[in-house]
Symmetry: C2
């Protein structure tokens, strides 16, 4: 491979620096249908910006009939809606790849479900009246830094069609309170079904454009490539994943689980950005054989994860490797392994949880 | 050394597992006098327990005249007090040691200041009326796991004298809201001035004892040792530390800072569990020469960090290593280096922030 990720299981200092500042969701927090603030995953490319909400404005411009400059109060005066949305980092699962792409070393914790409240993006765009030649919408955040040698504000774009979808919103509340600083205060984009990179935080400008966006976070980053020199395929929607609350209790250092009470109810949640979850299966032998889990009656919204449970009675004491896998309505199924990519995006290989059952 | 920490700068998978679930405070959050929920550091030994607040009770027993069983409502009906408290993990700074103790690999982010609200521990103990032979108070949390081969509930103790101090509290609110699950819902101990291990979360039992506590978290863990076979010295109060908001903007991967605007105002906060901060100094040459920073007029409480600032005009463009160091009223000063210990506690060596100044 052209870049030289380490052929080792060990983690570099640069990866640790990222792991120390970006937060995963401890997997026992899968028990909450809405992830409490502080447990939702968090990936910040540069620094969390300091924003004075009184001075802050959202600009809407580009190929529109009416340039807009909106205050937070003006946005909050518009008709509001709430939506439970499961968000996942595109790099979730990256640390399982070998050789490992050097970047935020997520194991499996980069997920969370927020109860977001705000206004429809379409409603704001319709106030500005995009012109006929409008093709994409570029979103600029206030976080600023260097990445791949390029100084930049964090920017992502959506096609006009994606931007006008019902569920895409500009959110100012999370779980009933104003956005915490780390989740984009005072306003962020939320693009349900897409990996988190699309949901630009600390939003400051919306620009309607004639041309496809060619910024760093589209053309260089967030692409699936087998080789760094190829253009690759853009990362978009979340591929299906199921995770379980690790059953039993952990060892502090190894996190290996011990189960002393049987039968063992295994619980988890599953999601996909491509369609509703239709099946979750559980394996107690590392993925060789599977049995269907019980799906909860419904998810909290079409864009939120769905709970599941499974009553497990192991045949006897000993070591087991528990797995779960999700299938969505488009027929996408979680694989046991995914093909290696240069940046480790969209790795939805099944979770493996090692447990030691002490009683029969 | 008797244990064999790696003679390498690379991080093991077990350390990464801990770093992925325990949260540091991104250092730009030093800008907030009270750390927003979700940015405060978090160290959970086992799993975050699920607690039903209606069924939850706090037991108070041992060598007391009156055993107590208190509901959350009964505790909330008692006279309440609020206190801003800076809490730091005893392992903060551990990852800088070489050979590196294998444990949660904190760089410098394991700190935060909460606005805690609850009742005085003394008040609860006085309701139970400790007997004359009372010597220590043992606190048991609901988190359960294996550590060092020993299955345990997380437990820590205080001497009777420490337990009866004014500022020690049983907190049910953080920053004006009920404790989030990860910070000890529904009730936790807060021991101002001490490293975080003393502030037992998910409190379920308070036991007044005749004998000194010899549980795992006192006798095996949380001790300063040069060699694993020696008894060592208990970790108690927080030694002084100052941290700065890294100035300028970062590179995503290396986190190296670029400064383009001068003069550069450097801001930070300093704290000590031994006494008030009396001096903060800044160095722009990696700790060879120092100049005094301006201290903010006052900390929010005697147990909270104190802000400081420093107007820096570098002599010209180029690379600099910025440091700051704190001195407290007992004369304790942050060192450039600390002696190696087996578990890497209390490493308050000065922070070093590499910056590249682009303008003169």
């Amino acid at each position: 491979m052209a870049n030289t990720p380490p052929e080792t299981d060990l983690i570099t200092r640069e990866e640790l620096q990222l792991a120390a500042r970006n937060h995963g969701m401890p997997l026992e927090a899968l028990r909450y249908p809405i992830t409490p603030v502080g447990l939702h995953y968090l990936l910040v490319h540069y620094d969390i910006p300091a924003v004075d909400p009184a001075a802050w404005r959202l600009e809407v411009g580009g190929v529109v009939e009416k340039q807009l400059v909106l205050s937070l109060d003006e946005i909050k005066a518009m008709p509001a809606k709430s939506l439970a949305v499961t968000m996942e980092c595109a790099g979730n699962g990256r640390a399982a790849l070998l050789p490992r792409p050097i970047n935020q070393p997520w194991i499996l914790e980069a997920v969370g479900t927020g109860d977001w409240r705000g206004v429809s993006l379409r409603q704001v765009l319709e106030l500005a009246i995009p012109l006929d030649q409008a093709r994409e919408v570029v979103f600029t955040g206030l976080d600023h830094g260097l990445e791949g040698g390029i100084e930049q504000d964090y920017q992502r774009a959506l096609t006009m069609d994606e931007a006008m979808r019902d569920e895409v919103m500009l959110a100012y509340d999370l779980n009933g309170s104003p956005l915490p600083p780390q989740h984009g205060f005072p306003l962020r984009l939320v693009v349900p079904g897409w990996y988190g990179m699309a949901s630009v935080k600390w939003l400051t400008r919306i620009e309607v454009t004639r041309e496809p966006f060619v910024g760093y976070q589209h053309v260089r980053s967030y692409r699936l490539r087998q080789h760094v020199d190829e253009p690759g395929v853009p990362v978009t929607r979340i591929v299906p994943r199921s995770l379980m609350v690790p059953p039993g209790f952990p060892d502090f250092m190894t996190r290996k689980r011990t189960i002393k009470r049987l039968p063992c109810r295994i619980e988890g949640r599953a999601w996909s950005g491509w369609g509703a979850i239709t099946k979750v299966e559980v394996s107690a032998d590392g993925g060789r054989t599977w049995a269907a889990a019980q799906l909860d009656t419904a998810a909290q919204s079409p864009w939120a994860w769905r709970g599941w449970s499974f009553e497990w009675s192991p045949p006897g004491p000993g070591d087991y490797e528990l797995c779960s896998r999700a299938t969505d309505e488009t027929g996408k199924v979680q694989p046991l392994d995914v093909p290696w990519t240069t940046a480790g995006y969209s790795n939805n290989a099944v979770q493996r949880v090692k447990v030691n059952v002490l009683t029969a």
